[in-house]
Amino acid sequence: MPISISKALIGKEYPPYPVTVERGKIKEFARAIGDLNPFYLDDRVGAASEWRDLIAPPTFAITFRDETADTGSMLRDLGTDISRILHGEQEFELFRPLQPGQTYLCRAKIVDIYEKSGRSGPMAFVVRETTITDRTNEVVAAMRHITIVRL
């Protein structure tokens, strides 16, 4: 039976959550992709670089999860479950590379919800934006995430 998704969630802001980037997590993430770039993996190459330490690969911010703001909590808000979702679109804007030892603050917000019919039936598109700031409140990165819910 089709489910329905409440548009009342448009505009919902999740509580900001801090993330401290671990050196090992950057390496684990790069290796999982099979991207062996030394700027992600070799501490000495990082130290000698313009960034003075390792940097994270471009999609690393996807690991910035929090139980109050992650997909699971959004799914509870939407009244659906994980077997119905697909990742529709994803965008990263990176003003500076993310680096180990740094603590960032993430602010996630649902900015739009709309419905469309696809090959596999009706679907809802949930658009979420997350802004990532550093300790000085400067925006370091931003993500735009579109989750598709199969209704």
Binding site: K25, A32, I33, N37, P58, H87, Q90
Partner: protein, 144 residues
């Protein structure tokens, strides 16, 4: 040569990224990516769950394919060069699929000493079906 330095001055609209071939995708890589990204959706791990969900079996995290596309960009333009990357997940990547990431320069501009190169990027499977399509902006150094 991998990780050769690319300069803004040498890049022209229409230039193509060196293709990056990834895979064949194996279950172990999806399990590894789940751990690395903390995305434990069983749809990428448990074939029975994925079938029951109507997906016809396990498929790869879209973010893994996006990671491949990001690698194609940074292998060419350098680590730390990506200013923007946005993609649509156009089709599912299945186990044993070989994913080839490609790109083409569509614009270049300089403003306040920052040199931006815009690319159309995509990834395709072994049947030449597009699995990821998108746009990217990278910052490149100028020859001095």
């Amino acid at each position: 040569m991998k990780y050769a330095k690319v300069y803004f001055d040498d890049v022209m609209v229409g230039d193509e990224l060196p293709p990056l071939v990834k895979g064949p995708v194996q279950q172990i890589q999806l399990t590894r990516y789940a751990g690395a990204s903390a995305d434990f959706n069983p749809i990428h791990q448990d074939d029975e769950f994925a079938r029951a969900a109507g997906m016809g079996g396990v498929f790869a995290h879209g973010m893994l394919s996006m990671g491949f596309v990001a690698q194609a960009l940074t292998d060419w333009a350098g680590a730390g060069s990506v200013r923007k990357l946005g993609v649509r997940f156009a089709a599912l990547v299945r186990l044993k699929d070989v994913v080839t990431c490609r790109g083409r320069v569509v614009a270049r501009s300089s403003k306040d000493d920052v040199n931006l190169v815009e690319l159309e990027v995509w990834a395709e499977n072994q049947k030449a079906e597009k699995v990821v399509t998108g746009r990217a902006t990278v910052i490149l150094p100028a020859r001095t």
